[in-house]
């Protein structure tokens, strides 16, 4: 379910780092909790974020959820297409629904994240 090459935060964001650039989104578990997403607010390119800092907001018809940076980073690209079609978050949360691309500026914050197995256990414990 949760790809091993991704890393996950306890706040249900994922990050996939490939050739120095990290893509960040929310997990399948997070989108299921939210329900139908209708609104997405993302930061500007160039913004620097500390791990755990809020970088945006995602809203479903019924709920508002804050987005938190899983790592300390700088935003290098924003998925503008996703802002236009936020329902993609429900359809392809780990793929097309990446939200921002970042340069990780503190690798230790990346090391501290969970792998797929650990995240699955985290989700199972939240769902009781």
């Amino acid at each position: 379910m949760y790809p091993q090459e991704y890393r996950y935060s306890k706040d249900h964001e994922w990050i996939l780092v490939e050739s120095g650039v990290g893509r960040i989104g929310i997990t399948d578990y997070a989108q299921k909790q939210l329900g139908d997403v209708v609104f997405l607010d993302l930061p500007e390119v160039g913004r620097t974020l500390k791990a755990g800092e809020q970088f945006g907001t995602v809203e479903s018809v019924k709920a508002v959820s804050e987005l938190y940076a899983p790592v300390t980073c700088e935003v290098v690209q924003v998925n503008a297409a996703l802002v236009e079609k936020p329902e993609t978050i429900n359809k392809d949360p780990h793929g097309a629904a990446w939200m921002i691309e970042v340069r990780v500026t503190d690798p230790a914050t990346l090391e501290a994240l969970m792998d797929g197995t650990a995240y699955q256990a985290h989700v199972d414990s939240e769902a009781k």
Binding site: G35, D36, V38, F39, T57, E59, S60, V61, K62, V64, N90
Partner: protein, 368 residues
Amino acid sequence: MAEKLRTTPLYEVHRESGAKMVPFGGWDMPVEYSGLIAEHMAVRTAAGLFDVSHMGQLEVEGEGALAFLQRVTSNDVAKLVDGQAQYSSLPLPSGCPVDDIIVYRRSERRYLIVVNASNTEKDWTWLLAQRPAACGLHNLSDQYALLALQGPRAEAILQPLTPLPLKEIAFYHFAEGRVLGHEAIVARTGYTGEDGFEIFLPPSVAASVWRRLVEEGRPQGLLPAGLGARDTLRLEAKMMLYGNDMDETTTLIEAGLSWIVSLEEAKGDFNGRQVLAAQKKEGAPRRIVGFETTERGIPRHGYPVLLDGAPASTVTSGTFAPYLQKSIGLCYLPAARAAVGTPLAVDVRGRRVAARVVSTPFYRRPRP
């Protein structure tokens, strides 16, 4: 101290179908099944099936039933004939509602009142304290399961299951007969802004009727629908939610419910009449309005509303409207500032989102 949540006779069916369950007014209720937007659209374009068994049912019967109801409700019960229903309320002397209700006249001496789930005990106590000796008052809430089948396909889906001629049941009327062989009351009422029925059933048969309606309806586009879609549907149709859009601090006139306040001679005196008659004549100092945002952002219950940049009110209900594809809401505004077109702003978690007052209902179903 979490009190144990109550469950409806359809609880097992909901669990089986993978519904997302949430606590609502002391009940464990399905908020969505396949997805709020899909369910919302199914009701607008085909049909949706809701479990609203949490709603309360009170029976008023006996010689004094009509006089008692005239005294405690705001609408004119004398206008009802057998088999007719009426949207009404239970006003306080202040003109503010204890609850909003539907009154069903089963016979001259027998009425069924459907009340909001979370108000059932409050309404019961309120009515019991005023009940004259000449009429009986019974809480029948545990004797009925209530299914709401809503949407343009509702009649076609339900008809094969009942010998009642559904075509002949007019809007806000009902018939008593059989559904799948079980005793039922079938009312052409609802809370979605669409055509449809509310079906009162003995709790023991609710699950089998639900399953059969889903089976019958699926090929026609029916989806089981949860409280999430119920809320967005009713708000598009500007149907008021007790506890959000009105309560014991808002008069019926302020709440835009003047049309369920009867000053007819036949009605006579009733709780709140003095205040309501005065406000009906002279106008209320504030009234509820509908607004839509003109910038991106979703207004939600409790968010501050600003007029001329200054806090002036609070969003009572707000949502992204799935059918209308825009953000809408309700709030109370001073009467002098309540005209259609009035600009306002909603404070969406610290961000000011521009909006304007619009005419309501936001959505009106196309009449055939």
